[in-house]
């Protein structure tokens, strides 16, 4: 993957937000998918990485792992008031038929005096969901409900 390659790009969708996220590795593609989802809501440059949260997930297939990964952030946003702008996926491994993800994500509590939201993502979806490996990169396609 060339160094100047986009991390993610948005596709056209009338009501919701659909995007492609790229990575040299599966882990990087997952990081960029999270970044793409947050940037639907808010410019992530305005989120300071002052709080870190460890995330561990397990799912029977990669589509569901991605669905769980994106859903986890929406849960943390509602339940803990936390939003994130930096994502480090340490490892995604396959063990006993399960895909396991281990990550640390960085962000802070919502502060309405500095965090300007464009919209709110309600949920991740399985609509046209894809996690696929090409010759030299991974590509993720996802649609989130607004």
């Amino acid at each position: 993957m060339p160094a100047d390659m986009k991390k993610y790009e948005y596709l056209n969708h009338t009501a919701d937000a659909k995007f492609l996220a790229y990575g040299k590795t599966l882990e990087e593609a997952f990081e960029n998918a999270a970044l793409a989802m947050f940037n639907v809501m808010i410019n992530t440059n305005t989120i300071s990485p002052i709080k870190s949260v460890n995330i561990e997930l397990s799912a029977q297939d990669l589509d569901t792992l991605l669905f769980d990964w994106l859903s986890e952030f929406l849960f943390l946003m509602d339940a803990e008031n936390l939003i994130f702008g930096e994502f480090k996926v340490h490892k995604i491994k396959q063990e006993e038929g399960q895909f396991q993800l281990n990550a640390t994500v960085y962000g802070e509590k919502i502060d309405h005096s500095k965090h300007m939201f464009d919209t709110e993502v309600k949920a991740a979806t399985y609509n046209d969901i894809q996690v696929k490996q090409l010759a030299d990169m991974w590509v993720i396609q996802a649609t989130v409900d607004i």
């Binding site: 009501a15 929406l74 946003m77 309405h112 919209t119 949920a123 609509n127």
Partner: protein, 486 residues
């Protein structure tokens, strides 16, 4: 244009407002599709929406047609504006046919105030409403409920609200399903859904949700308007919101389960978001019981918001709600699945009707509508987009034959949010609306841009199709004076 012209040639025209998607449109369709659109609205339809209508037609046990209302647009899995009914024994239940915002819906409150009583003070009133009712991204309620109270809310819906002082018994009578669906399974609501639901009861949320102060601009049907307590010049208040994070998480949790159940039961899914399971399977019933919890939560949410809005009017006009006549006209759900009895091929049959962005529209004399409305039919509430007309209609006998007793739910989007954000600036929209006599109050201007009136089809065009098709008939048109934007 050429792309859109190619839409109509793929369809069979049934009449001016009905187009059939032939069963051969895509492999595996068990029934044809039906689009309820005028030709101009059909020309605005995206190919993707047509594909989604066809995909739904492949699901087991689907009855008659996979339907799209005149406000239909591209969704995820099912189209928005989709209606699909499945046989109680041989069909399926699908969370994707309801959506993440379970029991997103609309309620309309009447008043004895006239437009001239309110318009001079609208900015003050909006400001007070804005502070009384939390809205926007990340908003939290001033109410905090504990787990036992949440269970009570999930099971008893609006009854909990009224018993706890958020409203009067008459509110319950005037609500679809009396503000409470039976069959709640609280054990099927995850800890995560509870955590999201606890701080958000009594919040509008964001997106297209709103609280609007309106006036009755025109009455089309005096008899029905009388029954609903509406007359020209009168001020009304409309609330549009749903089950917030609790509903989103309940759908997320069960959707995940059902993608696996679909594999287990060998159900072919053209799109994973159509995940479903046989109606009597534990997976489907567990989802349904959790969905009921979210639906009941949403009715409590709208009930509490109405209670706080009444409080603002009471304080402002120094009159109590009886003097103000702030009675609930009706409350409709537009994202929900229900077990209903319908007549199919002259036989009474129980079916799971999924309405995703569609409103129930039951006819006169139906036992499930309030006694006061039995002679005219169920009130059908169709919100406009921000700054445009909303409509009140009444249900008809024809809707039972044509659309499983359903009508549209709103205006229907035509422009993406990203495009809207690029095209419009919140401050400019706010100014333009203000010139038309409509005040808007939102947490942030950018939130106004994504809901600019231009990003929607005209609510009048959509409602005209519903009216001409006869699946609901126009009663009154409501025009906004002020909007608290979620």
């Amino acid at each position: 244009m050429s792309e859109n012209n190619s839409i109509s040639v793929q369809l069979n025209k049934i009449n001016d407002n009905t187009w059939e998607v032939p069963q051969g449109y895509r492999p595996g369709m068990r029934v044809p599709g039906r689009l309820f659109l005028s030709f101009p609205l059909l020309e605005m339809l995206e190919q993707g929406t047509l594909d989604q209508v066809a995909n739904v037609a492949t699901l087991p046990g689907i009855q008659k047609y996979s339907m799209a209302m005149p406000d239909a647009h591209l969704g995820y899995g099912f189209p928005i504006g989709g209606v699909a009914a499945f046989d109680r024994e041989e069909g399926v239940i699908s969370p994707g046919g309801v959506g993440f915002d379970i029991n997103c819906g609309v309620r309309l409150i009447r008043s004895n105030l006239l437009e001239s009583d309110v318009r001079p003070y609208i900015k003050d009133i909006l400001e007070k409403l804005f502070h009384a009712i939390p809205s926007g991204v990340g908003s939290k309620s001033r109410l905090r409920v504990n787990d036992d109270q949440l269970d009570d809310i999930f099971i008893n819906g609006s009854n909990w609200a009224v018993e706890n002082g958020y409203g009067i018994p008459e509110d319950i009578e005037k609500c679809e399903s009396q503000g409470m669906m039976e069959g709640a399974l609280v054990k099927q609501v995850s800890t995560k859904a509870r955590q999201r639901g606890r701080p958000q009861l009594g919040t509008l949320g964001s997106g297209n949700h709103f609280l609007e102060i309106q006036y009755v601009a025109e009455v089309y049907d005096r008899k029905a308007a009388d029954a609903f307590g509406l007359y020209e010049g009168q001020v009304t208040c409309m609330i549009h919101c749903g089950s917030r994070g609790a509903g989103h998480q309940i759908c997320t949790d069960h959707l995940r389960n059902l993608t696996q159940a679909a594999q287990k039961y060998n159900i072919y899914l053209p799109d994973k978001q159509l995940a479903c399971a046989p109606t009597d399977s534990s997976e489907a019933q567990n989802y349904f019981g959790a969905m009921v919890c979210a639906a009941n939560y949403a009715w409590v949410n709208r009930q509490i918001i109405m209670h706080w809005a009444r409080g603002v009017f009471q304080d402002f006009f120094k009159q109590d709600i009886d003097e103000l006549g702030m009675n609930l006209v009706y409350d409709v759900a537009h994202n929900v699945a229900k077990l209903e009895e319908h007549r199919i091929e002259n036989k009474k049959k129980e079916i799971y009707v999924h309405r995703k962005g569609a409103t129930r529209a039951f006819p006169p004399m139906h036992p499930d509508i309030p006694q006061a409305y039995r002679k005219v039919g169920q009130p059908v509430l169709i919100p406009g987009s921000m700054g445009t007309a909303s409509y009140v209609l009444h249900g008809t006998y024809d809707s039972m034959d044509i659309s499983f007793g359903s009508a549209c739910h709103g205006a229907g989007r035509v422009m993406s949010r990203a495009h809207a954000k690029h095209e419009f600036r919140g401050e400019q929209i706010q100014r333009e609306l203000s010139e038309k006599g409509i005040s808007v109050r939102a947490t942030q201007p950018a939130l106004i841009a994504e809901e600019a009136p231009e990003v929607y089809k005209s609510s009048s065009d959509v409602v005209d199709v519903v009216h001409n098709l006869g699946i609901a008939r126009k009663v009154a048109r409501l025009m906004p004076i002020g909007v608290v934007k979620g």
